[in-house]
Amino acid sequence: MSIATGALRNLQDVARDPRSWWQRSKGNIELWANLIVIGWALVFMLWRGGGFAITVGSVFAIWAILAVSLNLVVGYTGLLSVGHIGFFGVGAYAMAVLSSNASYEQLRTEAIPTFGWPFFAALPFSVILAGLVALVVGVAFNRFRDDIYVLVSFGFAVIAFTTFLSWRNLTRGAFGIHEIARPAIGPLVFEGELEFLALLLVFLGLVVLIAWLIVTSSFGRVLTAIREDEEGIQVFGYHTTHYKLAIWVISAMMAGLAGALLASWSTFIDPNSFVLLESVLLVSIVILGGLASIWGSLLGALAFVMLEEGMRFVPFLPSEFIGQIRQVILGILLVLLMLFRPQGLVGRFKL
């Protein structure tokens, strides 16, 4: 709400007195970051037309759910977790295994069980499974802090990836799982891309709402206090380990949701979507967008998706290098941000 009214007030200001508005908001990096990223996305979508907008919107929604969920842990609670892709993968594989129809030819050694559950039955299961994994991992990780936390969370991502790749009786290893069910409510099947986009946006709205409720509640204020001074808040009688565990599990469940949606959206997954580097990219999205700001995570995800899509239309760029060049740009952006703006584009918290 506040964003909308703020934007409206800004517009009124521009209309009333452009010169003084320019003087006031020349150095307002947040405003320019917002304007440039959103303007860029809008122009691109108008230029490329509907199909492009639907694809970009779907990819954006999945990354945005992930980024918002990670921001709860990294930005609000101050635990720099690099292993979030693991929960994403757990959700995706739970959805894939449970709802794949598996009509393809199976090698005997790679035979996996088939369940054929519908989407909406598998979805809660995937989310809860991600939460359970997070509970176990969180109990083990709760005592660590700062740079050691980074190391062990790297470890979780590696363990998760190895499990997806090597537990062949369940995940078919490097072959991946095909024909994952599309969601259906009675006769209404989300077969088309537009319907699925609507579903994704509904879930994104739900996640943003939950995140917003969390960070504006007293629970969220305790999380912020843990970030600022953990011993300090312990003195007031808060069991910080419980709070950290709770937000860790909630965040992992959101990531699991994103994974389940990805599996159903692309109808095929393999371990390559869950490598360690993707996890690092996710962290860089969160930091780029802004720590401790939900809007920042949405903006970061949009910028990340538009960076890739935008580069597809640079004439002399070979298409196989786009992902790599995006990675180079993100890496350099990360360095520049740490140098000049450690809170990210629209963030509230300096690392």
Binding site: R143, D147, V152, L330, L334
Partner: protein
């Protein structure tokens, strides 16, 4: 006894009980692991010997990584994730220089922009090194303008030399012979001078001139030998790859970390920035060399030897020797030289070190250089052992990090012990599993160590 005191006593008791429980658990765990390994050894000694060899071979790589990592960390006290890219640059540097030799040259790579990039980086680093080494001594005697021109020319020459070496990998032995000769002569002069200072303090300068003559003669002989032996190309490429990795690390330190360390108020900022660098360099390597794994050429000792029912490659024995030698050199440098004293002083308190007149920027720069050379050695050894791929950097970084935590963070003895221990545990751990689970095992080792022995095996004193 008041209520508050009572509560304090109960809290202390609670903590004590908790500590005892944790110690008990740790002892039980150790006993279980030792028992498991012992049972395995009794079951099939030959296989156990094989796994022990493999563990030592892998451990050599981890030990090299952990030594450099711990040296850098215990000096600047932040985790420099660029370190993984340094290992990847080491391995890919060797591939770049020998790609015409690998599998009939089907993956041959030699791109002009890369050569120019490295030439520019080297020129920049050389300019800075010249400024540090010579400017302060000469600016009272010579005009600033002359110094600037001469220094600029020298730095440019260094850059062009680097570009030439990179552009003509087939003639590496000829191109590098002067550099190797200069290095041999320099080391000879340094060693002789040290011996001279220690054993013959009273004598005049006569013997010193003789020593210089001997050293120069030695250098010329080495140069002639190197230039006439094309077979040395591979080993010279190791040398160049290590130097390149160190140069990039130095450039990053001087160009970026110095500024960042002044601004940053938390080690996490440095960690995230170095993560960005790691991302960028990994992607750059992928663009130049593609994502698919590549082999490195055969070395001496690629033939397996059989020792008591187990086989080991001669190259692995060499790698273990290299790790031990690297440990010896590092120990000597840190414990016995003035430079090492400065490194330890900076590690203890950088501000105080600055106050007592240590040029901390230069010392830390050299530390970064040495660290990157160790990483590059580890990267190329592991590359020769298996294969290289762009994302190897991140994985090697994590292994070095784990090994240094297992050994005791910031401790040099801990680094080598932790490296070999991690290698052994990993290999014995995959005895009943498939080889792809080894990364999982090493992270489980890490979490167990952090939970029960957060200080590591041999903690820093």
């Amino acid at each position: 006894m008041s209520l508050a005191q009572l509560r304090d006593v109960s809290l202390v008791n609670f903590l004590k009980i908790r500590e005892q429980q944790s110690r008990l658990l740790a002892v039980g765990l150790t006993a279980a692991i030792v028992g498991y390994i012992g049972w395995k050894i009794v079951q099939s000694p030959d296989q156990a010997l094989q796994f022990a060899f493999n563990g030592l071979a892998v451990g050599a790589v981890y030990a090299l990584l952990a030594m450099g990592f711990t040296l850098v960390y215990s000096t600047v006290w932040f985790f420099d994730l660029y370190y993984g890219a340094a290992a990847a640059i080491g391995a890919y540097g060797v591939f770049y220089l020998r790609s015409h030799d690998v599998l009939g040259g089907q993956y041959a790579v030699n791109s002009g922009p890369v050569n120019v990039l490295f030439a520019v980086v080297t020129a920049g680093v050389a300019a800075w090194a010249l400024q540090v080494l010579l400017y302060r001594r000469l600016h009272t005697r010579l005009q600033p303008k002359t110094l600037l021109i001469v220094g600029g020319l020298l730095a440019t020459a260094f850059g062009i030399y680097t570009g030439l070496v990179l552009a003509n990998p087939a003639n590496l032995h000829v191109l590098l012979s002067p550099l190797v000769a200069a290095l041999v002569a320099g080391v000879a002069i340094w060693a002789l001078n040290r011996a001279h200072l220690r054993f013959a303090l009273q004598t005049n300068q006569g013997p010193f001139a003789a020593m210089v003559a001997v050293a120069i003669a030695l250098g010329v002989l080495v140069a002639i030998f190197v230039a006439s032996t094309p077979g040395l190309g591979l080993y010279l490429s190791w040398f160049v790859a290590c130097l390149l990795s160190g140069t990039v690390s130095l450039a990053l330190y001087r160009g970026l970390y110095v500024t960042m360390r002044e601004r940053a108020n938390s080690p996490l900022i440095m960690l995230v920035a170095s993560l960005g660098i790691l991302l960028a360099i990994t992607a750059f390597i992928t663009i130049v060399f593609r994502a698919a794994p590549r082999p490195l050429p055969d070395t001496f000792g690629s033939e397996p030897w059989t020792i008591g029912g187990a086989t080991i490659k001669g190259f692995n024995v060499f790698a273990i020797g290299l790790a031990l030698a690297g440990f010896g050199v590092l120990l000597f440098v840190v414990k016995k030289t003035a430079f090492g004293k400065a490194v330890r002083a900076i590690g203890d308190d950088e501000e105080v070190a600055k106050v007592v007149g240590i040029n901390t920027t230069v010392v830390i720069a050299v530390v970064f250089f040495i660290g990157a050379v160790y990483a590059a050695l580890a990267g190329l050894v592991s590359g020769h052992d298996t294969a290289i791929q762009p994302r190897m950097g991140l994985l090697l970084l994590l292994k070095g990090w784990i090994a240094s935590v297992v050994g005791g963070i910031g401790s040099l003895y801990g680094a080598i012990v932790g490296g070999f221990a991690l290698g052994m545990l990993e290999q014995f751990g995959i005895w009943d599993l498939a080889g792809e689970w080894r990364d999982v095992i090493s992270f489980i080792v890490l979490i167990v160590f952090l939970s029960f022995w957060p200080q590591g095996l041999l903690p820093r004193k």
